[in-house]
Structures are given as C-alpha cells and as structure tokens.
C-alpha cells in the first residue's frame, strides 16, 4: 500500500486517550486521513482529524464507513467507567451494542482491510485459581458475570465472530494491562488517587501497568504494521499492591474484602471514585499477563516498564503519607554523623 493513502476510522475520540491517539495517528506517514467518531464532540483540539458525530449504536456508522472508504478501523470506544457514560446501562449499551453495530458495519463494507480492537487484560478475570501469568490462549478461570469484564468478554467474542466471517480482514486484538498515567481516568487510577487507600486484608495483588504513551504507541504500531492476532500488552515486571502504595506514599487501611467492596460502592455513590465491583477481585488476587507474544510476533516493545510507568504516575500525585519513610530518612542521616557516640558512651559507662 502506498504511503499516505490509508483512511482510518477511530471510535471513542471524545475521551482524552482516543483524542490523543487520533491526533498522533494523523501524523503517521502511512495514514492519509483520520476520521474520529463519537456520540459527543471531543473536548479538546483534534488537529487534522475530521470528526463525525455519529452514534456507533445505530447503523449510521455503516454509511460513514462506506462514504469515506475506510480501510482501517480502530475500535477504542470500550469504556470502563460507568460514571463518564452516565450509568451502567448506558455503558453496557455503548460497549456491547456499539461494538455489534460497528462490526456489522465493517462486515458489510468491502473496503475494510484491518481492524484494531483495544481490549483489556480484565478478560482474564482475577481469582485464586489463576496461573501467575496469563498467556493469550488461556481462558478466565471463572467467567465474568457482570460489569466491565463481562462487556469485554462479549466484545471479544463478537470480534472473534467477525474474524471468522471476514477472514480477509486482519484483526488485531490488543489486550492492554491497566493503563496508567497522569491524565488517565479509570477505576484504578481513581482508586490510587484516594487520600487513604482501602486494601483487602491478608492479600497482596500483583499489578502490571501500561503507560498511556505506550498505549498510544502500541495502537499506532498495530495500525502501521497490520499484524493479525491477539496480544497481551503490558510493561515489564510486576508491582505488588502494597509496594505500589508505599511508592505512592499513600496511607492504606486494610479491611476485609466485603468491607472494601462496601467502601467502594459508597465512594461510587458519593461520586468520589469510580470504584467498580469487579475491581475487588483484581485488588485481592491481582493478575499478570505474559508478553512474550507481544515481543516476538507483534514486535512491539513498551518504552516503560511497569515500575517506570507507575513512577511517572506517582509523580503527578501529591503524597498524603510517607511519614515513616521521612523519619527513617532523618534517622539514617543522623547515624553516620554521630561518630562521637561510642566515645561519649565510654564516658557514661565509666
């Protein structure tokens, strides 16, 4: 394909990540036009991206694809925060019905050659029966019953169905670990932003993060390189939840699991944090994904490890704790500067 003649349709551009991605994609040399689609107009500058106000939940989207002769579709309109969409029902409708409509439109459009879906590692669930690292072939040990995880599981099954019906279309599914960054609003980042963080007593979750910049670059990479398949995308390494909290310098309160769930639903009702119920399992057991296939087949390498991505996120937050660390720092600083102590003790002893 000649450079600069590709037409890319990006869904979900009203939110920050989608908007940033659409803008950065427009600057790619292989891309001619970028069309952003969403229900509401984007909040900021979208640069060269042409915005089409269309609801992916109704068949209008098919007309957009046909008229603009779109060849690559990037589906980013899978939302995890019910608050931003206006309730769980709207969120579910946007996620599931929106994906169905979009895929139906793609199936009808002969011009579409490549589909990139931003999925999430939430599909693997989180339980005590999980293997340490999920590879792409593994199924969740317990099928999700509600919430975001179920939405994503359904979306993935529709995408697989689409891939069966249109074998000529290259489908890239990116299962991204929890995206983190100074501008990211997600259930997990709002949980980290709480001044005092409730944690589940007796458990320590293993966490993996992907920096927002790496999310944008992996999506751009997928559009440019057209490698079909399903890939886990995450930064290298693992952080334990307790370790992450210490790095954030946030005080934590451990309470039993059900109490954390109640605190979470209270916070959600009070609109203080977007704490979703299925997050409880994640914060209890954690999750790790294997990224060998991302490295070897997709050929992508995230620029930041889990640790670095989290450090970058932590810089944007003001610490609310860390008193013990400061105290220890003072002690450690005081210690080498007191070589007189043994002699004075000798005086005291004598």
């Amino acid at each position: 394909m000649a450079a600069g003649d590709r037409v890319v349709l990006v869904t979900g551009v009203s939110r920050d990540l989608g908007r940033h991605f659409a803008r950065s994609l427009a600057a790619e040399p292989c891309v001619g036009r970028v069309i952003g689609v969403d229900v509401v107009p984007p909040r900021g500058d979208i640069g060269d991206v042409s915005f089409v106000r269309a609801d992916i939940r109704n068949p209008v989207i098919a007309k957009v694809i046909a008229k603009e002769r779109v060849d690559t579709v990037v589906h980013m309109s899978v939302i995890s925060t019910p608050g931003s969409a206006g309730g769980r029902n709207t969120m579910k409708e946007l996620n599931v019905i929106g994906t169905m409509q979009l895929l139906a439109a793609c199936q009808k459009a002969p011009t579409v050659e490549h589909l990139v879906v931003k999925s999430t590692t939430t599909v693997y669930g989180a339980s005590n029966r999980d293997p340490a690292m999920f590879t792409e072939d593994m199924e969740p040990r317990r099928a999700p019953r509600a919430g975001y995880a179920k939405d994503v599981a359904e979306i993935e099954s529709y995408v697989r169905g689409f891939a069966r019906r249109r074998p000529d279309v290259r489908v890239t599914m990116l299962r991204c670990a929890n995206v983190i960054g100074a501008h990211v609003v997600s259930p997990l980042t709002s949980y980290f932003r709480l001044p005092v963080v409730p944690t589940v007593f007796g458990y320590d979750a293993r966490l993996q993060f992907l920096h927002e910049r790496d999310l944008l670059s992996v999506l751009r990479y997928a559009v440019a390189n057209e490698v079909p398949g399903t890939f886990n995308v995450a930064g290298d390494g693992i952080l334990m939840l307790s370790q992450a909290m210490r790095r954030l310098k946030r005080p934590t309160v451990s309470m039993p699991g059900f109490a954390v769930g109640q605190a979470g639903s209270f916070l959600r009702q009070a609109r203080l944090a977007d704490f979703s119920p299925e997050q409880l399992g994640f914060l209890t057991y954690g999750r790790g994904v294997d990224t060998t296939r991302m490295r070897e087949e997709l050929g992508f390498e995230p620029s930041m490890t889990t640790e670095e991505a989290f450090a970058d996120f932590a810089r944007s937050l003001t610490p609310t704790g860390g008193r013990t660390e400061r105290l220890l720092g003072v002690l450690a600083d005081a210690l080498p500067s007191t070589p007189a102590l043994p002699s004075s003790s000798g005086v005291l002893d004598g």
């Binding site: 005590n128 029966r129 293997p131 340490a132 293993r206 693992i238 210490r246 790095r247 450690a332 043994p342």
Partner: protein
Amino acid sequence: MGDAEIIPIGTRGRPGRGSASGKPSSASRSLAGPGKPAAEKRADRPSRPRHGARPATDQPTTPAADRPRKPAVEPTEPTPPTPPAPRLTEAPAPDAGHDPVLAATTVRDRGPLAGIPAGDWLAAFQHAARELFGEQWEPQLARFLAFLRRRVSGDYVVDEYGFDQEITERFLMTALRPIADKWFRIEVRGVDNIPTEGGALVVSNHSGTIPVDGLMTMVSIHDHTGRFLRPLGADLVFRMPVVSKLARKSGTTLACSEDAERMLRAGELVGVWPEGFKGIGKPYAERYKLQRFGRGGFVSAALRTGVPIVPLSVVGAEEIYPLVGNVPGLARVLGIPYIPITPFFPLLGPLGLVPLPSKWLLEFGEPIRTDEFDSGAADDPMLVFDVTDQVRETIQSTLYSLLMKRESVFR
C-alpha cells in the same frame, strides 16, 4: 498503741487516697460531705493533704510503714526545699518539674520507667545495639536502617510470581531456621542430588496436618544449596487471607501445569507435594503410607520441560500433629478439606498448635532424568503413569529405610 491509729497502711502515706489514682475513693467523698463540686476539691486538695501527709510519711518509724513507702519516695522529692536533682528534670513527670507545689503522686510518676536518666537510656540503647548487631553496630545499624527505608518506600523488586527474595531470606528463613535446627533437629541426606543450577522438580511426600514439611524443606534446601525452593500450592492457599500473601512473598505459586512449566523453563527449583490434602490430612494410623499421587501432572510438566525429578522423603513430619479426628461437617461449611483434631489441639487451645518435637530426616533421592524421552512423551498417559509410579515407589521405599534408621520418634 496510739501510733497504730495514724499509720496508714497501704496508702503510701497519703490518707484518703487508697488507690492513689488521683480521685478520692467513694468512702472519702462521703466523709468530705456533700455540696462541693469535685473540681474544686481537686484544686485545693494537693496543698491540704500534703501537710497532712508529711507527718504520716516522716514520723512513723515502724517498719510496716517504711516498706510500702519506698517506691513513692523518688517522685515526691520536690517537696523538700533542696535544689531539684538533675535526674528529676529528665524523669517523665513534667508536672512535677515545673510546679512542685501541685505535684501529686500519680500512677504515672511511680511507673517503672520514671526517674531513669537519659544517660542510662543511651547506654542501654547502645548496649542493646551491640548485642544485636555486634561490635560494628553502627554500620550494621545504618545498613539495617537502609533496608527498612527501602522496604518502607517500596524500593524493592518482586518477580512475576510475587516472590520477594529479600523478605524470604531475611525474615522467613531466619524465623524458620531455629525451628528446623533446634526443634525438629533436621538431618538432611543426599543434598548432592539437587542440581546446583537449572530447573529441577523436587517431589516429596506430604504429611503433618499443617504443611510445615513444605516450610522445613524450603529452609533446608536453602541452607544446604543456597537455592530457593519454589513450592507449588493448592488454590486453597491463595484463597486464605494472610496465608495467600505470605505464600506469594515466599515464592509459592499455584499448582497448575502452566505455572509449573513456566517456572521449570525459567530454571527454578520447583517443589511439589502430589499427595496434596490427602497426604497432610490423613489420620495418624496411616502414617508413612503414601496416598495417590494426583493425576501425575507434575510428571508431564517435568517431561515437557525435560528437567530431572528429585524424589524427597521426609520422615518426622507425620508426628508433629498426630491427626486423630476430623469434623467433616464443619469443614464442609467452612470450605476447607478437614478440621484437624489432635490429642492436644482443640483441648489445649492455642497451646495445642505447638508441634511435637519429632526428629526429622530428609533424604533426597537419585534424580530421575526426563530429558531422554522423546518430545511426545508428556502426552503418553502410560509413560506418565509409569514415571509417577517410579517416583512414588522410590519415595515409599526410602521412607521405610529412613524409619528403620531412626532410633525413635523423638530422637
């Protein structure tokens, strides 16, 4: 005999303050008469009872009065007109320091820490530091502080299974070592059979009601070879709070083929107890009789990764908590495999949790090589069963020979 009426036995020389808690007793309040609020009484009281108290403390020469007075002497010292002793200014009784008139003997003043000079504190601290860290205690303490700081600021690394090597080495192993050496007096044989590097699968018998044998194997292997044993645990381990956290930190992961193969491929020394709950939860009467070895999943993991299988026989763990009974109904309600009843456990309460000091013998057998089989071996059920039986037979026969060698359960 007039003396006997003034000596206030047991009141530390202050009439009406039997409890010395700063509040008059109900008896003395009723003597003082009604109408006066308690706050006013307290304000003027210290001056009044002081004059009343002095004769009581100073006049009597009877030994009966001297003995209970002794501990109260130091804090009441500011009352004499002598200049305050330096130790008193440092004593944790600020009210006694700045207002000697109002100084009342409270429980706090008479606490065991009152009146210890700061110099003594310092000397005690230095002595303790020397005891704990040796003669070079300053750099040692600095290193320890740096370690604490690293922990508190989260500046450490865990591997993908959540294994925290630092904590395992510094705390878990340190805590378990005396139990292994002094309590169970573990004797390890055949350490040379553990490969010094590369993946290997240690397969052991399981016993003892609580998986203490796993912990002891971990510490023994670490002390003899310097390698960390990475145990595979049942999903129940990861469902239980606290246990789950500790298990992940000490390097345990879920006993599933994915994790086992992943660890073995990465060259770890993996430990597996294929009997599972059938092994640790078997009654005392069936001790040292190996139970069924699961479905042989561990053998296929070893065959797929081509690592040697090291059979390990543990003698001694059966006797630590002799299981004589079970409460199946309650266990089913709680969702755990069994609720143990030992001769001591529910009977003596927490004391029953102390394991019996049996003598332990650990013998690592000759490694069984799996890299000689061809690539499809792991999918051949017959071969997998054969190798499983071979491992099981080896462990069982070693158990019998070790039992013959042991003089008695406790020696």
